[in-house]
Symmetry: C2
Subunit: 503 residues, 2 copies
């Protein structure tokens, strides 16, 4: 083939398509005409040793893209690592090796280890399109992955990224399946376990669809975007950490699949288990506690679903060599008072500081989890919860948490938002429940998690009896406009607080 | 809600994402921050009575998009019909009504009529994302749609667009399942049936992945982009037409589904039947002949597959009131000599003109099909093929074809490409087969279908015995660069001609 026909210079288009490599070319580009590229074609782009597959979008009428130049979306730009104006080569990609594995699964056959391997390595190499990934996820929805397939998928996902090596000894971890708003137990559990002398190098995620992820909340209190070397230094000196896992390349396939899973929102026990346990294995964990809240608006909705999921977690955990314990908890309502990064940070600090107004439900949940993890690690007769309470009540957990924050780059006291409004009850009565989705949406409209101090602070909980006009919750915002906007939404429909007759 | 917070002006971004509505916003856009929009969010955009759902791409570092302005992809721009600079309103879309129908199907439940209706109307309203559509298509792959579901889907697709009304009397149609390269029988069949006094208002498609569609080939000979009124005038005066169906809004859901089906490339008898028959019903057809080539590289690969598909076509045809006949034909090789719009136009004109060098296989196929369609329409005892041959041999079909071309806007003699190269045999022997995909790719690299005169002309066919150095095929191109490029590809790997020992 003639080299110069296939090469044109690239530029950064400055368009974020969220992890999807897209290449922008003008319709009069000689390469499009010559190659027969047209819109939506998957195009292979090669630069030195690197090669990616991108979707083509055709620029029909715009000045920003010069003739015979290819614009790259952020994901394509990052993956290809070319310089502005450098010539790269374009071709038609061979169909990805995993296409036939996906096709078989779609037609109802079982996936074997080689098939899982092919799908995951093509995912990580950006050789599968969004549509291919959606087809794969759809074919695995519900209970369409059996235990053996789940094990194979977990191993493939673990194998596709880095693994942290902590040497000999126990490495503890915890994970919550389907968070309730405000359920920010992780920093407390890490502090207690590290204070007990265990190693617990916790990696957490940022919010994708919720008003805060653990990494967002922790970032209010200390830096979290540590690299592996920095994380290791913290763990070596303090025993534990709470850092953002997104930059560490642990199970990168998981991040790419989540991008497609979230909008589709199908339940798949197999994919859930592979996602969670591949990340834990990649983090080098040996002992993992799974918090599984069960409730009608939680991720796991019934006791029966909790049992099925637990069996699968145990089977896969055993196959990949993890000691696993599952803690089923009440998932009927949000936890604590704050919803939003800083508001949740205040709650967990109050628990660690044993403040008189600390939310008791958050404290009790954290102690349950820390106790269960201690029992798992020590394999003793259930003294864990008492040990955990002693470490919290003595101030040892607080001191450890502050040391971890300092080691991560410095503790900072959480601030608060300048704009507040108090939302009150229209009618009196007993609070039956709080609509988790609606209250989370109000927190997000107020600016969470992007605005650290924005969110919602609850003044009442299910079971409380209130009078008309009594405060139910506050909206916190960093700008007047966002406050008004969250208020408008909050007041435009039914209240998130469901109130019944007082008993 | 406060109107001005939710409105910003729009501009045309000039980016073709192929039917996917995309909105481009800057990351510092007040609306993104206020609404909590981030990349990949589905955003509802409202302008007067119109409302679309678009995917958000975030412009991080580019000058072409002014602050607090939304750029719209071509599909979004066309659907919304706003003017440059006009203010439109942005909001979070409600989940589409059909999401639960798709979810049920994914989990293995059957689709009912209401579910099909919801999915198709949300598809047409652009309320389903590409990922949702991919999930729907995946859930229907293989034989996962039963007959009742196929009927419901066909009716929903038919109901979602316009229907042509031709008044009382027969309206004939034909369709080929999975075209072979060069299998351009349609204009000949239309000419014969119209010459026989029947009404055959044929709508055809352009190529999506092949070197030519019927509309591309016909456009070499006459205008094909007629609106419904112009098409009706042609049919009223001539009995038949061959026009491009893409602009007529017949079964628009089909076009939107095909956009996702093509790259996924799963076989689904149910979706195939719903696609074909919804279009026929929308075109107002009463009697439909289906050409079904069977062969290892055709769409239908085995006799058994042909039987299953035929049963389904008959059942659905009956349910929606179509008289249907299926003609199974040999699908082992390309048809005729030319591959590419003008080259195929030369072939079919030669058949209509009874030229001595007319490709006999194309002639015989067209007569088989015209005969079968006459038999279906007249419900008599199989005289159709003889009638068809008489109409072709007498010149009546040629005269009718020219009249149709004139009525569509004027007949034009096909031209030919200025650049040719002759590709010869490396070794002598008997030609066993021709790799359809490889020969089609060479035609596309030479410029077909975008360059009307480009493509491939075969000099030999399976069964021919050739000597080394003897011409196998010619590449035709409109530019020297494209000729060289197609040649480079043609000569870089194995020949598309599989040659064995002479018998």
């Amino acid at each position: 083939m003639t080299g110069d026909i296939h090469s044109i210079p690239v530029m950064r288009a400055g368009i974020d398509t969220y992890r999807q490599p897209v290449v922008y070319m003008r319709e009069d580009c000689h390469l499009c005409r010559a190659e027969g590229f047209s819109v939506l074609t998957q195009v292979e782009i090669t630069h030195g040793q690197r090669s990616i597959v991108a979707a083509l979008n055709v620029v029909t009428d715009a000045d920003w893209l010069p003739p015979d130049t290819a614009g790259l979306s952020e994901a394509a730009w990052t993956a290809l690592k070319a310089d502005d104006g450098e010539f790269v080569t374009f071709s038609h990609p061979e169909p990805p090796a995993s296409a036939s594995a996906i096709r078989s699964k779609v037609y109802g056959q079982r996936l074997d280890a080689a098939g899982c391997q092919a799908i995951i390595s093509d995912t990580v190499a950006h050789r599968l399109s969004d549509l291919d990934l959606a087809a794969f996820i759809t074919a695995c929805a519900g209970d369409r992955l059996d235990i053996a397939e789940t094990i194979a998928l977990t191993r493939a996902m673990h194998g596709a990224g880095k693994t942290l090596d902590w040497g000999a000894g126990l490495v503890l971890d915890k994970h919550c399946v389907g968070g309730l708003p405000g359920n920010r137990t992780t920093p407390i559990v890490v502090a207690i376990l590290a204070a007990a002398g265990f190693r617990i190098p916790k990696t957490s995620s940022r919010a994708i669809t919720s008003p805060a992820g653990t990494a967002d909340t922790m970032e209010v209190l200390a830096p979290v975007a540590l690299d592996i070397a920095a994380m290791r230094r913290v763990v070596e000196s303090e025993g534990g950490c709470v850092v953002w896992g997104g930059g560490l390349d642990l199970s990168p396939a998981d991040d790419l699949l989540i991008r497609i899973e979230r909008p589709l929102d199908f339940d798949s026990d197999g994919q859930l288990v592979a996602s969670v346990l591949s990340k834990k294995a990649a983090a080098g964990s040996t002992h993992v506690l799974i918090d599984m809240p069960v409730g009608p608006t939680a991720k796991v909705r019934t006791e029966a679903a909790a049992r099925t999921l637990s069996e699968r977690l145990h089977a896969v955990g055993k196959a990949i060599g993890l000691s696993l314990r599952i803690h089923v908890s009440d998932g009927l309502a949000p936890v604590g008072r704050g919803i939003g990064p800083a508001l949740e940070a205040h709650d967990l600090l109050a628990v660690l500081r044993r403040a008189p107004n600390a939310p008791m439900d958050l404290r009790e949940r954290a102690l349950d989890l820390a106790g269960a993890l201690l029992d798992l690690a020590e394999a003793n007769g259930g003294q864990g919860r008492e040990t955990a309470r002693n470490l919290l009540d003595s101030g040892a957990a607080e001191a450890k948490f502050l040391s971890i924050c300092e080691a991560q780059g410095g503790f900072r006291e959480p601030g608060s938002a300048p704009y507040h409004s108090i939302e009150t009850a229209d009618v009196g009565g007993a609070i039956r429940e709080i609509d988790n989705r609606r209250i989370a949406k109000i927190a997000k409209l107020a600016g969470a998690p992007g605005r650290k101090h924005a969110g919602v602070r609850l003044h009442a909980r299910p079971g409380d009896v209130i009078d008309a006009g009594q405060p139910l919750y506050e909206i916190h915002a960093e700008t007047q406009g966002e406050l008004v906007w969250a208020q408008d939404y909050a007041r435009s429909g039914v209240s998130p607080f469901v109130v019944g007759e007082a008993p």
